[in-house]
């Protein structure tokens, strides 16, 4: 049986075809990037927020700063070099982000549920998410849960703004913002500023109505709505045998 983690990883990996650099956190994004490296993006390099470039880990890393990412890596950069030169300098093709809330323009909230000054839930905050959003050529979001609490009409707080909000604030954005949102139901997509996220693909058996019910804004459907090809034998074998043989993240 194919798990939800496997499906999300495989679908995300396909979207990385031909990309060169990806900024990814540990978990589904690194699984997707590692699989893409073996399939559709042979030159893909994962850059980690900790400063590691070209890692060759002996074991599957548990954090973006795991010691096994450093030993044998091609380069380890300081924070000013990583955030200033690599990320803000425009060297990242695709940044992966997660969030507690996303809106139709791909703006993200990872700061608070409720009011910032007296929050119901205090979340971790930006970390480098704001920088990944502002500086990557495009951003992919992987959200396990697709429900109206996460896909909201209005964010409680905008931590990481997409290019539309940046423009409204008088700043020309460097990248396209969120272009792909990969969920348990399907894929939402937009090509850049001025566009809403639309439903462009569904997993087999999922209906448009289901996706709309699970989305907190009136979700539009793209003209070329497709059904997602299930993970192939080859993709699953690589993922299970080469990428995460101990099923640390494929749980």
């Amino acid at each position: 049986m194919t798990t939800s983690s496997e499906i999300l990883s495989v679908v995300a990996s396909r979207e990385l075809a031909g990309k060169r650099t990806v900024f990814a956190g540990i978990g589904l994004p690194t699984l997707a990037a590692s699989l893409a490296h073996l399939t559709v993006a042979p030159d893909l390099e994962i850059v980690y927020e900790s400063g590691v470039c070209g890692a060759h880990p002996s074991h599957l890393p548990e954090t973006i700063a795991d010691a096994v990412l450093i030993t044998g890596a091609e380069a380890v950069l300081s924070m000013p070099a990583l955030f200033g030169y690599v990320l803000q300098g425009g060297h990242i093709d695709v940044g992966f982000l997660g969030a507690a809330q996303i809106d139709r323009w791909g703006n993200l909230n990872s700061s608070v549920i409720g009011d910032w000054h007296s929050p119901k839930v205090r979340l971790p905050g930006s970390g480098g998410a704001m920088e990944v959003m502002a500086n990557s050529r495009e951003v992919f979001v992987v959200m396990r849960r697709h429900d109206p609490r996460s896909f909201v009409d209005e964010l409680d707080f905008c931590t990481s703004p997409g290019p539309d909000r940046a423009l409204a604030d008088g700043v020309r954005p460097a990248g396209l913002g969120v272009t792909r949102v990969i969920t348990e139901l399907g894929i939402l997509a937009r090509s850049g500023p001025g566009e809403e996220l639309k439903l462009v693909a569904l997993h087999p058996g999922v209906t448009v109505d289901q996706a709309r019910e699970c989305t907190g804004w009136p979700l539009e459907v793209g003209g070329d709505l497709t059904v997602i090809e299930p993970p192939s034998e080859a993709e699953l074998r690589l993922l299970r045998e080469d990428v995460d043989p101990e099923r640390v993240y494929l749980r």
Binding site: G25, I26, G27, E49, S50, G51, V52, E62, T63, I64, A65, D66, A67, I70, T71, G72, V76, S78, M79, P80, F83, G84, L87, Q88, S111, W116, H117, S118, P119, K120, V121, R122, L123, P124, G125, S126, G127, G128, A129, M130, E131, A134, N135, F157, C158, T159, S160, P161, G162, D164, R165, A166, L167, A168, D169, G170, V171, R172, P173, A174
Partner: protein
Amino acid sequence: MPRPGPDKTMSLRDAVAAFVHDGDTVALEGFTHLIPTAAGHEIIRQGRRDLTVVRMTADIVVDQMLAGGCVRKLVSSFVGNSSAGSLGELRRRIEHADPEPLEFEEYSHYGLICRYLAGAQRLPFYPLRSYAGSDLPGVNPNIRKVASPYGDEQIYVVPPVNPDVTIIHAQRADRAGNTQIWGLTGIQAEAVFAADKAIVVVEEIVADEVVRSDPNRTVVPAHAVDAVVEVPRGAHPSFAQGYYDRDNAFYRAWSGISRDKEKLAAWMAEWVHGTADHAEYVAKLGEEFWAGLAVGEALSEPVNYGRRL
């Protein structure tokens, strides 16, 4: 001509007593790697109050300092227990002002990095391509905008941070304070240069010759350092590349410990207030425990600095 630098070695107790005062702004840096935990615990033992703590990733050591009653204000860009869960005391302070409110000045990672960069360079502000359209400037009036004098562009800026004292942990230093780090070097150099005083805690103090055999490895030069303190395993539960691995089990356990006020108080009583110093904390964990975090050898290949013939 040989020039032995001044000896700045001290005990951690003396260094904290000398350089960390009630009401100070204290930066503790180390991004996942080399977190100055032992120093945080010593600050708690000495009962410092009303500190402003600056730390990019406010994680377990910050939650412990909050629980120790040391902290009035937090300046940070990430408040969480890595990817392993929540910080109980921090969430109680922010969500419920329990037992008292916590002033929180929030940034993104690069925003706080740029504050250190401005501080280290004595700049009145530092520009960065973040914050446009974010709600953060609305809750943090320190994040402002400047118009570029080279066109119609606008850009956000942050002000310098100049801590009263910065504390970092490192693999090794000489007695004068030349500090060498390998693996992740993070924002340690900038945090030290931005500060008025700097304490460097190290796994080992080494002979001058060791440092001088590889001057490019020196991340912080001696003239920026005020105290050098040897505290082996002082970064636990984080790791020191080449010395010991990360205690992932403790990270996972922290959510459960800190969620419950009584459990947390008991943990603090046993492990911080109940130990005289970090050596006792290390001994209490036991050699079997440390064997589980031991690492093998992966030596760097030497490079030739050359010698005039």
